[in-house]
Each structure stands twice: as C-alpha cells, then as structure tokens.
C-alpha cells in the first residue's frame, strides 16, 4: 500500500463503522515545542488521520487563530526540519496516517526530493499546500508521488464543475472540500447550502471527501458527516491547545 493510500484506508475504516472520519489539525510545536510529540499522540489517539501544520511567516489563507499559532511556533524555533526530527525521534509508532499542511515556500526551501523521502520515512503520507493550485503543482507532485506521498487537492464552493471533476481525479488520499469561501477560523457557522455542495462533491469524487473550515462542534461534525466521509477540525482544536486543555477529550466529544 502506498503511503497516501493509507489515508483513504483509514477514512474508509472509519466510515465502514458508520462513523464520520475525524481529521484534526494541529500546528506543530504549539504552544510548547517540547510537548509536540505528546500532543500529536493524544490527537492521533482520536483522529483517524492527523494534519500537522508547518508554521509559515505568511499564512495568507489562515485566520487569526492559526496565524497566531504559526507565528508563535516560528518564534519557538519550529521548522520543517525540526518537525521531521521530532517524528523520527518519536519512533514512528503513531498509527494514524499523518498529513502535512504547509505553504509552498518552506517546502521549496527544504527541497522536494529530500522532502518526499523524509515524509515517507516519518509516516507523512500526503501534503496539503494551500497556496499551490494544481496548475503549479507538477514538480512537487511528481516528486512526492515517486515516493508514494500524495498531494491532496482542495475544492471550494466557488470551484466550477469541470474543475471540481479534474481536481477530484488528481487528488490523493482524500479530496478536501472547503466548506466556505473564506479563510480558516471562521465563526459564522456552516453555510446553509452545505449539504448540496458536499453531495455534489461526493458524487463527483471517487476518493473520500473530507470537509474542512469552520467545523467547531459535535453538531458540525454530524452535519458534515451526513454528506461527506470526514470532517477536518482546525482552528477549534488549536484554540483548545492554546488554552492548554486536553485535545483528546475535546476530540472525543466531537464524535
């Protein structure tokens, strides 16, 4: 099984049990770098797949919460290399497949080839790159895939149908359905026409569809779960980490 296939499998396992797959997002090394691996284990103990955020100086698709966590992590010395080192030192025994969410520039600076290898070796099965549209992705995508690491595509309510179809075909692991037009961390609730949108995306995609942006509560997860395979929980979890509450408890309560 290729690394990125582990992701769809894990999601499939969850949905097979009648659950909505839960994909928590956490900024690496936030709020305390020392607690990174412990936090990751706690999150992975509930999450079917875990998304690890690589901090970046210009998180242009993120709202205040993730911006804050990102700037703080950078100040505390969290880098892509450091994250890999931590994962390596952890013994690679985390069961849930890992996904890395990073803006393009840190990946570019790291080097695609090295990136693909280190990812494969540390259980990172795929990447989400919010400022990399498919059209610009060829080089990194092919390099990653050469090592079995996938590039997850995003679709949004503004994505035209033909493009939606195209993106669903080239995505790996799952298809990321952004619930809103907007940045992460919105508090205005999920849109009314969410069901139609997710049904449409799911009908087009042969990959599992996971919805993200603005999912904050168990009700949201239930709501999303009726029309998608999984729910991605980002800012809400980062806020929990920020308040130094127990992430596993928070996540269990979302189920």
């Amino acid at each position: 099984m290729l690394p990125y296939e582990r992701i769809s499998h894990a999601i499939g396992d969850s949905t097979a049990k009648g659950n909505t797959a839960l994909i928590p997002f956490m900024t690496a090394g936030y709020p305390e770098p020392e607690a990174f691996i412990d936090t990751l284990r706690a999150v992975a103990s509930v999450g079917d797949v875990v998304e690890i955020g690589v901090p970046f100086s210009d998180p242009m698709a993120d709202g205040m919460t993730i911006q804050r966590s990102s700037f703080s992590a950078i100040e505390n010395g969290v880098t892509l290399n450091w994250i890999f080192e931590q994962l390596e030192q952890s013994g690679n025994d985390i069961e849930s497949p890992l996904v890395m969410m990073s803006y393009l520039n840190p990946l570019l600076a790291f080097g695609y080839d090295k990136l693909a290898k280190r990812a494969r070796d540390t259980g990172v099965c795929a990447f989400i790159v919010p400022d990399l549209p498919f059209e610009e992705s060829e080089e990194i995508r092919l390099t990653l895939e050469a090592h079995g690491v996938g590039l997850i595509q995003l679709v949004t309510p503004a994505t035209p149908d033909n493009r939606l179809k195209m993106l669903s075909e080239v995505s790996r692991g799952f298809l990321y359905a952004v619930t809103i037009t907007g940045i992460t961390g919105g508090h205005s609730g999920l849109p009314n026409d969410l069901a139609d949108y997710l049904d449409k995306v799911s009908s087009v995609s042969s990959l599992p569809v996971c919805a993200g942006f603005g999912i904050r509560s168990a009700a949201d997860v239930i709501n999303v779960g009726r029309h998608a395979a999984g729910a991605i929980v980002g800012s809400a979890l980062v806020e929990v980490l920020e308040r130094e509450e127990d992430p596993a408890t928070f996540l269990r309560n979302l189920r």
Binding site: P55, F56, S57, D58, P59, M60, A61, D62, G63, M64, Q67, F71, I74, T79, L80, N81, Y103, L104, N105, P106, L107, L108, A109, F110, P130, D131, L132, P133, E135, E136, E139, Q153, L154, V155, T156, A158, T159, P160, R163, L167, V178, T181, G182, I183
Partner: protein, 418 residues
Amino acid sequence: MKALIDAEEAKKLLAASIAGELPDERGRFGPFGGQYVPETLMPAFQRLEKGIAEHLHSGAFQAAYRSELRTWVGRPTALTHAPRLSEKWGVEVWIKREDLAHTGAHKINNAIGQALLAKQLGAKRIIAETGAGQHGVASAAACARVNLPCRVYMGAVDIERQAPNVDRMHRLGAEVFPVETGDKTLRAAIDEALREWVSDPAGIYYLLGSAVGAHPYPYLVRELQSVIGEEARAQMVESAGGLPHAAFACVGGGSNAIGLFYPLLGDTQIELIGVEAGGTGDKLGQNAATLATGTPGVLQGSYSMILQDTDGNVQETHSISAGLDYSGVGPEHAFLQTIGRVTYVAVNDNEALEALEELCETEGILTALETAHAYGYAKKWAQDNPGKRILIGNSGRGDKDMPTLRQYPARTKVNVAI
C-alpha cells in the same frame, strides 16, 4: 523552478521579452512568476485573466484608459532637465516626473487602469493594500472616479510613518484598515487583503499596487505602467536629443521600475539599473534589497526573489522608505536580473536621505524617499561614467514623507549673511 540560466537561454529569453512574448501563457517570465494562489481564488484569477485578455488591449478600454491618463492623471508627465545636478555630478541628468501625476506618484497609472477594469468586470467593491500609502491614495482616488467603494489594507507601522497619506485616503472616501499582524508593513497588508479577497472572490476586485503577486498581476501592472517608459523614451529623443546611456529607478515591488524599463528593454545599449533599499546594513532584516541579496522562493503568489531564512520563512525588512520596505519583488525583475538585462543594486537609508536633500537644493524637487534611492545610486554611477546622459525615474513626491524627514533636520542652504 531552477533559476540558473545559461547564456544562450538568456539571449533567447531576452528576445522573447523584447518581442512582448512574456509572460508566457502560464504567467512565467522564464522561471519566475506563476500563480500560487489558494483554490478559492482560482475562479477569480481566471475571470481576471479572461477580463484582461478581452478588455485590456481593446480599443474601447484603451480609449477610456488613455483619456483618464491624459485628462485626469495629467499625462504626459514632464521630462525635466536638471542643469545644476548635472553640473555637480558631471553627467547629463534627465528626470521623468511621475511626482507630477495626480495624487503624486506613478501609482495612479495602475490604479485608474485597474479601477476601470474592475468596473468593466462588474466588481461590487475594491480592496487594495498599501505601503507608503501612495497606492492607497491612488486607489481611493481612482475608486471615487469610477464610483466603487474602496477599502485599503495598511500595516500599522506604515500608518504611523505615512500619516499624511492616511488622511488623504479617508478624505477620498476610502476605508483604511489597519493591519496589526505579521510585520505590520506592506507584506502583512497584502496577506490581509488576500484573506479578505478569499472571503468574497466574486464581489471583490483586488487592486494590487505593484508588479508583484500571482499572474496576471505582474503583467497587468507592467502594461499599465509602461506609459512611463513609453513617454520618457519619446521625450528623451525629442528633448534630450537622444536616448540615455543609463536609466535608474527605485525598486520596491518594482512597478515604477518595470514601467520605465520595459519600453527600453529593446534599446540594449541602455544600461538599466534598479535600485533597492539598502536600509541600515547588509544583514537579513536590515534592508529590503531583495534582488541584491535575496534567494528564490514563492511569496504572495509568485516565484521570485525573496528575503527569507533557510527554512523558507520570509524575513522582516528595514527601509527608511515605506514603499520599498517589502521582502519580495516582482518576478519580471528577478527574470531581468537572471538574464542580465537589468542590474540591481542597493542604496542605504543615509545615502537616500542625502540624495533627497541634494535634489531639493539643486533642482527644487522634493522627491519621495523611495525615489531618492534611485538618485543615490545614479550619483555613484556618475562618478565612473563622466559625461554620460542619464534618465532617472522620479516615481513620486516627498510630501508624504514629512513625518519621517522631520527626524532628520534639513541643512538649510541659506548661506549668505542676512
């Protein structure tokens, strides 16, 4: 994304550039450029590309645009001979006077063009970012002129040091949105504007102020600013009796520089020199000399040179001039540097201040702190090239810089006994 280009390739690319074939259909100038934007914005970018293809060079749009340039912006702007500066420097100095354009800088050429385009594309409102405030003022004015509401994102640090422009934006009916995140200067303002755009990609037109960002902005802005170089070229021939041996422009994002340089690219005998902000020193964080000292990377939508650490995090910059205080630069400049057509150098804060003062005293022109960098380097160049004829792009006026300049008392030139 390799940045190394051999001589043969460089020659071909220069020819393509002169022939107007760049950016290519993927928005690339050689390896630089591209369109690194969130998926949410892809439809908006595609709409914009389509709109540009349809309108930008259409007769109707060009007529409207040229008419606004002539009758509202006040183009053509003058070409000024600087006899006293020429004498001091030992070269023949000619100045292209964008400071005389409406609102006081070249920014208005782009702002009114994009505002007309936004109107054409049915935008409901306009957002813009600003550093020095010149683009903010230009956008506010252009939006009033075409009757669209305008919100300008501006870093809190810049709001402080460019206060006169903040007031002007308010007066012109724009909302100024203070950006308190990131470095609180231009880069953070762009990030914030992008976030806003993502929230309503269909209703908003993002009026970007420099030749930076994702394709098609670097192309669009270049096309709208090229009027500078087109006019200057014709004026040099008419008034100076010939083309210059060298042309100088300051480079922040690079819009005034590309506007001046692009129409001169084919005159390969003209040395083209872009001048960046050397700030207080050579170290990362002490300057904004992106091309002179940066490395390739992707920032805010395009692959270009940026000031970053080895982890790919973009670094804060320093410049006395808010309009140059930016860690990125337009991809076409990275390209022109790589193929060797344009040289990029840096001039530090003090040199810029001295140049500003020298121009005031010799020619009675109070230039912008951004622009002063171009003079700062031209003066050095002149020392090694006596007798040559040079053209300086005077991108804007210095009125907006009074709060900053007040910290550096002027040496008055009144030196007779009174």
